[in-house]
């Protein structure tokens, strides 16, 4: 097809702007990565932009030796793995019955559940409930209140609803009970939506910040997010590092260590992200169409 002059300018602009948008998302990460790998003199002179200067791994070395980052990394993993497992199980237990037409009270229960998306008790009453259950300073306070994200559950439900009724009927005639039907037919057919929702929950737990801050008191139970925030915000963690560095000959800066901390948080996500990208696009799309 021939394109007119107007169309050609449009496409040119389009490509240029989109390239800029893509680069804009990448630049801050590159800058931080360079900071974390650069030596003291380069960082202080402000010459580190997108490429590391005087490459050194001392920031990472000090980060892992001088701060409890390994422990909080472990905590973050524990919170994420257990949290995703629990949330997935309970979310499936919510979405599957609600997707079945035979389920008694389906309509009213759906209404009652969607209502919780529109109106909430808010932070203080939720905190009182969690603390009255004795969950404070216990990872239960992170897992139990987040068992089901209603939004994720609705996405999953609409996926289950789209599984052809004939398959379900056929399985029933073959004598499958509900549990067998769910485990052998519905779930294997729903891998894209399970991957999507699993990713969403994993991101939620991995990034959890506010809940950890309000419910978890012991320093040794804190996760990576809160530790990194403390490092970025206050100097105390960094001062401890400086105190360790008695010879004062090291080649690092607070900026470099902060950047290294942020990179430690980003890297696991960068590894998983490309693998799951095709799934989450599908999942979000599905949720959007069915509402």
């Amino acid at each position: 097809m021939r394109s007119t002059k107007g169309e050609r300018t449009f496409y040119l602009f389009n490509y240029v702007l989109l390239t800029l948008a893509g680069i804009l998302c990448l630049l801050p990460l590159l800058h931080l990565a360079s900071l974390s790998l650069s030596g003291k003199n380069a960082v202080l002179s402000g010459f580190v932009s997108l490429w590391p200067q005087e490459i050194t791994f001392e920031s990472y070395q000090l980060l892992f030796e001088g701060t409890p980052i390994l422990r909080s990394l472990g905590n973050s993993m524990l919170i994420t793995v257990v949290g995703v497992a629990l949330s997935m199980i309970v979310t499936i237990c919510a979405a599957y019955p609600l997707a079945r037409r035979e389920f008694y009270g389906r309509r009213w229960i759906s209404l009652a559940i969607v209502f919780t998306m529109l109106f909430t008790g808010g932070l203080i009453p939720t905190y009182l409930v969690v603390s009255s259950l004795g969950l404070v300073n216990n990872y239960g306070s992170l897992w139990l209140p987040a068992l089901v994200s209603t939004y994720n559950m609705l996405i999953m439900r609409s996926f289950f609803e789209n599984i052809p009724e004939e398959l379900v009927e056929a399985a029933r005639i073959d004598g499958s009970g509900e549990w067998r039907l769910l485990l052998r037919i519905v779930l294997p057919l729903s891998l894209p939506v399970l991957a999507t929702i699993g990713l969403f929950y994993a991101v939620y737990y991995w990034n959890s910040f506010f809940n950890v801050m309000i419910y978890i008191n012991s320093p040794e139970k804190l996760n990576l997010t809160v530790l990194i925030q403390q490092m970025v915000r206050s100097q105390s963690v960094l001062q401890e590092i400086n105190a360790m560095d008695t010879q004062q000959v090291s080649n690092i800066t607070p900026e470099g260590i902060k950047a290294a901390g942020i990179m430690v948080m980003i890297l696991p996500m960068l590894v998983v992200y490309p693998l799951l990208q095709k799934y989450f696009v599908k999942g979000v799309t599905l949720g959007a169409i069915k509402g």
Binding site: Y15, G22, L24, P28, L32, L128, L147, W179, K258, G261
Partner: protein, 321 residues
Amino acid sequence: MKANPAKNVRLGERTASSGGERRFWHTQRFKTNRPLWLMFLPVVAFYLVFKYAPMAGLVIAFKNYTFYEGVWGSQWVGFDNFQMLFTQAQSLQIIRNTLLLSVLSVVIGFPFPIMLAIMLNEVRRKWFQKTVQTLVYLPHFFSWVIVGGLVVTIFAQSGLVNAMLERLTGQPFAFLFNEGSWVAIFLGSGIWKDAGFSAIIYLAALTSIDPSLYEAASMDGAGKWKQIRHITLPGIAPTIVIMLILAMGRVMEVGFDQVYVLQNSIVSGISEVISTYIYAIGLQGGQFSLTAALGLFESLVAFVLVLLTNAVARRFGKGLW
């Protein structure tokens, strides 16, 4: 397992002819429902304990909650907490800040995902489209702690932006310590983080537009801009309206994390919002009743806004329910 179907069919036949009560307990429907309800029980417990119990707990907004007397034993005080909220200069300022930041976020942030989706949709080269999508979706998955860390590092006095600014003008600028530039950074960081991901929904809507419309318009001599205005935008209008309704529900809520990681004491006159106030005064300061009242106010306004927007949208035949 193999014996079951025959039994079910036999039961079904027999119960079909017998009385009401017995028919119910033996129907296939009940047999299906028993396991379904069994698996649904934890879900009911979850919603009752963590969603509905806190709603009931909102009664402390009308009480003077003390730790020893508990939620139900505390003294009723009527609307005292609300009266205090709406007369104190501090809490009024916080409500104002919340509205200001969130309305700005919606108004300025809302068009970006739409533009991005339309632009991505016009790209013919698949590899280019995929690459840009991969990059712009990414920031959504970072926590605000990371985004805040990036922003603070880049805009700090000794950061990248100021290093370049100093080379150009010889003067650094305290971006994070000036109310105007702080709000700009707040809005910009929100767009940076979520515009890409929000575009997914519009992209999905765009694929449902009939391509023959574009061909016809092109034959009639309509340029790209005209096509976007008269075909693309009307085509995704329902999605835009739905997203707008959902955005209205969040107008009273400025996420805690975003403000918390970006704020500092110098700009607190503009950056202190309802969520950070509830955290500081309620949880840390122990004023549970006062901040529960603020939370109730926040929830109610959000609820009413969603209902109103939906009513308006329904008038145009595009309501969410």
